[in-house]
């Protein structure tokens, strides 16, 4: 008998994957909430979660835990519109890639509702419930940004959920630190990928690409609305990262253009050594 409920608001790629992966977690029933009837039907047909509904208000009123798996700007609106609909004593979290703006928006909630930001570092270049994967979160870092007054038992609950999802670890940090680091590790990778694809050689290079090209450009086929909001919601940090990247790329460009083989070798020694050092202590980053 499942006597608790986790509501997944938004059954897209991440919400759908979460609804699949959370099934069987302790005594929680997983209720997916979608905006379109077709998505609800898909979820029911493929057992994405234990239940699926269009009625978001009813779902979050009975949910002990609510995951907001919608775009950042929609989360801000949702928190404001539904501030009084969350079950008192419940935990609300999200899964999006910026945390400062989300934590700020969560202040609208009544004090009886705990909000802890989440960012499971997982995804693919696809969108929509049809691409949801039960194993999406396996091996991924699960980042949380608790409020100062977040209840320890809620942090522990998220930690147990992350274990159930198969995550590698749970990393707790502040919204500001999250956003500064994610600008580098995630957002900048997406800016690089789309910039590479803007080269006019893109279409003529088919037949000549290897795993390095596929690895770098895979994420260029991104969800435009989502990433527009993520980049915009973290503009200063992302701009700073890009300025640093432009500097380092330009340094390589100049030494290659000058044909200075000795300087190039020194630079490559430095950079490749950093990468090898970063991968310590194990081969887990190469998976």
């Amino acid at each position: 008998m499942k006597d608790k409920t986790v509501a997944i608001v938004g059954l897209g790629l991440i919400g759908g994957s979460l609804a699949l992966a959370l099934k069987g977690f302790e005594d929680y029933k997983v209720v997916g909430v979608a905006r379109r009837q077709a998505t609800v039907e898909y979820a029911l047909r493929h057992a994405v979660g234990d239940e699926a509904t269009l009625d978001v208000t009813a779902a979050i009123r009975q949910a002990d835990v609510t995951f907001l798996c919608i775009n950042p700007e929609d989360i801000v609106t949702f928190l404001s519109q539904h501030r009084d609909d969350f079950k008192p004593g419940s935990l609300v979290t999200d899964v999006c890639g910026i945390k400062g703006a989300i934590m700020e928006a969560s202040k609208v909630l009544p004090r009886t509702v705990d909000f802890i930001g989440s960012h499971p570092m997982a995804g693919t270049e696809f969108s929509g419930i049809e691409h949801a994967l039960k194993d999406m979160f396996r091996g991924a870092h699960y980042i949380i940004t608790p409020r100062e007054d977040s209840r320890p038992e809620n942090v522990e609950l998220l930690e147990r959920m992350a274990v159930h999802l198969g995550c590698r670890d749970v990393v707790s940090t502040t919204p500001a630190r999250h956003d500064a680091i994610i600008a580098y590790t995630s957002q900048m990778m997406h800016v690089i990928a789309v910039s590479v694809c803007d080269d006019e050689s893109l279409f003529t290079c088919k037949g000549y690409e290897g795993s390095s090209f596929r690895g770098c450009t895979r994420v260029a086929a991104l969800d435009v609305a989502l990433w527009t909001q993520l980049f915009s919601g973290n503009g200063p940090a992302l701009t700073a990262c890009l300025d640093t990247l432009l500097e380092h790329l330009k340094a390589y460009r100049d030494v290659i253009a000058a044909g200075d083989e000795a300087a190039l070798e020194r630079m490559l020694t430095h950079s490749s050594e950093r990468k090898r050092q970063m991968d310590l202590p194990g081969p887990d980053l190469l998976s």
Copy 2:
């Protein structure tokens, strides 16, 4: 009874993988040639190829096909030093990532020896025979640059070998076109990876990286001597690609810094559409 011989000169990551993967090809015996006794012993112990030897001259004298799996500058030197040691009527090829300089160097060979450049688009970020993989070439493009007077039966022989290696296809092109495209699809990916790793945030970002970061930076742990030679041997083409990349990155940087969400959305729509279109007609590039 194997009455033909293919010699693999250089048993590093690629040569070792080739020696593993070519075993059983038609009636060819695979003879690996290394510079160090320890490598020969490793090859014999792990059955990397059918035989292994330190005697390069003897090996190429009896080889019907010779693969030069050494660094670009070593290939140039080798061709000149051993020009009269290759078996008359034999095919000589290489596996390195630049073709203009190699094809030029191959002109030193007597007319009785055919030289066709090869570039199987495969590899990992590791070096050395211990990291050799039998499946290294599975699904990879195998690029060849025949000379104008290369014999059709030698092109066909390489095509059959590529099939045996499990390659996706064989793409024939000119050295100049190869080098121009590879600057974009391969060399630039490596410059991006090392430049990203030069960011001072590299070590503090552990715990915050996802698959996009791992995909982009994997190749930063590169073989310094090899990539110094590859970049230097293709300086003008690589510089041109990097200039284009810097322009496109700067355009994204500026629109993000300005907080112009509408322009950002337009640019992301354009770039992500290009990526989706490039991947047509199939999902094979995502593997």
